[in-house]
Point group: none
DNA sequence: TATGAATGAGTGTTCATTCAT
DNA sequence: GATGAATGAACACTCATTCAT
């Protein structure tokens, strides 16, 4: 029974996209606590314009998180289709990268003041489904030990995102990610 | 150029200790965004009293972090003396635990809006020294692969703290910590 | 120095009438604080269209008040022609009814943030003239005491409108209006 | 189980009283829609000071209304003790006076955006009780017709307050109040 | 010295009005 | 002419910090 969301006027669509982009960058840099006015300033629009497109600050935040996660899901599915044994690792790397540049996403994913499953149930479901698929694939391919489950993977993502923000991407990938990977690949005790 | 910190009167010292304790608990529960008035209320003192001992909210936060880290250092040194091969693992577990119960400390350690080396250079130096010692010990004992360094361990702590806040202590210890440990113990490629 | 109001195009005239009607209903239901956008939404026009016909929100409000008062004047004149002794009472009842359903009109009439004589001098003049006429008629007919004047009647209207909004129409008519009427009919002390 | 409201410090008590007084005057002049900042400005305090004493704008408004109504109740009881037949009329006059100078009180009493019975049940109860008492007294004394009840009196107060704001006190008392009084004194049809 | 009251800049959000499409 | 998007000045309320008591 949702209203057909009639296409936005060209200028409005441009502004909406611009707000999303700037809000993404700003939340990424400053975390979810940045004032809306700061986002408006950076986007070169009035605060009211943001509120025309997103009724609350939280809804703007949600829109960004949903967008990011959808991109990760898509890229991961593509890669997992090509190399099932590597799908999970590719996913971990994507998520670490996202968390690196995106303070807001990390907070959202770690549930700091934001419950993903409650706020974006659809995205959460698709996301969890993806993880279950690629984890099972990797376990069948023998690249991931058999005793880890989806909850463990989620936990590792939270950890990797935190680490990625703490450490440069190149260093994380060359020095710490191999440790995690070795731990995941190791046979259970 | 530091003032000689003349000894506090007994009641003032008691107040200072009480504020530290309550502030620790409160930041741990509520995160760094909790109002100073809430800490004052819980401590049963006026807000002014807190500002007498700590000139800004941030300085109070710093004092707590320093205090916590000193405790971890002490406990870790004791355990490392007993079993050098386990010292580093004991340390990781202590830090994860601290991060678990201490939202404020995690933020501080991960450098979210707070740079430890800049804010508390003395503590940071001692802390890094400890890590170098116990890492070297473990590598000599053969329990940790030879190609990880202190920076890698710091990074893993950031990750573990984030994970510990995301996941219950028992589950983290039984399900994810073994993965990290297996990765650290594995021989380099 | 007023612009000659050149005749509106048919569609524009239709829009203007529609806005007036919807604005009347909306102000009546929601009071003068209702956003212009809400009126536009209900009327199925853009906000800009309202501003084309009425340069400010207040001017729209004025137009409605004028319209309503003209209707009351007309109906009252008709009834007073039939029964001069009852004309004033019919008028009071009409005005109370208007105030009942029309939060905006009541505010306008009572001068809450809106001065009728200043804002709509023409309407005010006609309105006052009507009251003078029907009051004199009623006094000649002996149905209203001789010592009340037009200002008193205006005052009573303000009171009746306030009362009507406070109390249901039926109850006001059966229980309180008779008291007012008895007071007006009573001979002067 | 209410906290014993320990006595305020002298300066705080002075400020609280000042805020109440200024807020009373300001609401009276401007109505309930005045910004809190305006009240703060007039009182010569920061907005935060008002919020220290009254947690919301509405609670400040409530405090004023309660205070005013209690004064009216008290004065009316005194006068009714002296002359039972006049008690109700004295009450009507008091309430009209209050409404005259107090736009906020009128709005509260007429229920414009504020439900007295819900917001201040104690005051409302005492108030209604007073009206029942003095109305019965007056009816026993024969100064008020037997067929009006408390709800009718409330309605008349709403009307009188609206009228009093519309018309000067002296004129209302000399010209319109006698009409109401005659209507109330008249025998039922 | 301790208290907690006062300050005032800052936050999310709304809405009358203007203006590009 | 009509549309509805953009603007930006409010507003209620919060909180780190200062200061009178």
């Amino acid at each position: 029974m949702t209203e057909k969301p009639r296409p936005l006027r060209a200028d409005a669509a441009r502004n909406r996209a611009r707000v999303l982009q700037v809000a993404y960058e700003t939340f990424a840099e400053e975390g979810a606590a940045v004032p809306i006015d700061e986002i408006a300033r950076r986007a070169g629009v009035g605060a009211g314009t943001i509120y025309r497109h997103f009724p609350t600050k939280e809804s703007l935040f949600r829109a960004i998180v949903a967008d990011r996660l959808r991109q990760v899901v898509e890229r991961t599915r593509e890669q997992a289709a090509v190399d099932p044994g590597e799908g999970l690792y590719a996913f971990l790397v994507h998520m670490a990268e996202q968390g690196a540049t995106d303070l807001g996403l990390t907070e959202a994913f770690a549930g700091i003041g934001f419950d993903l499953a409650e706020a974006l149930p659809d995205v959460e479901k698709e996301f969890t489904g993806l993880m279950a698929d690629i984890l099972a694939q990797a376990q069948r391919a023998g690249t991931v030990r058999s005793d880890v489950d989806v909850a463990d993977i989620k936990t590792l993502i939270v950890g990797l995102q935190a680490m990625r923000r703490f450490r440069g991407d190149s260093e994380l990938m060359h020095r710490v990610y191999p440790v995690i990977r070795a731990g995941l690949a190791a046979p259970p005790d």
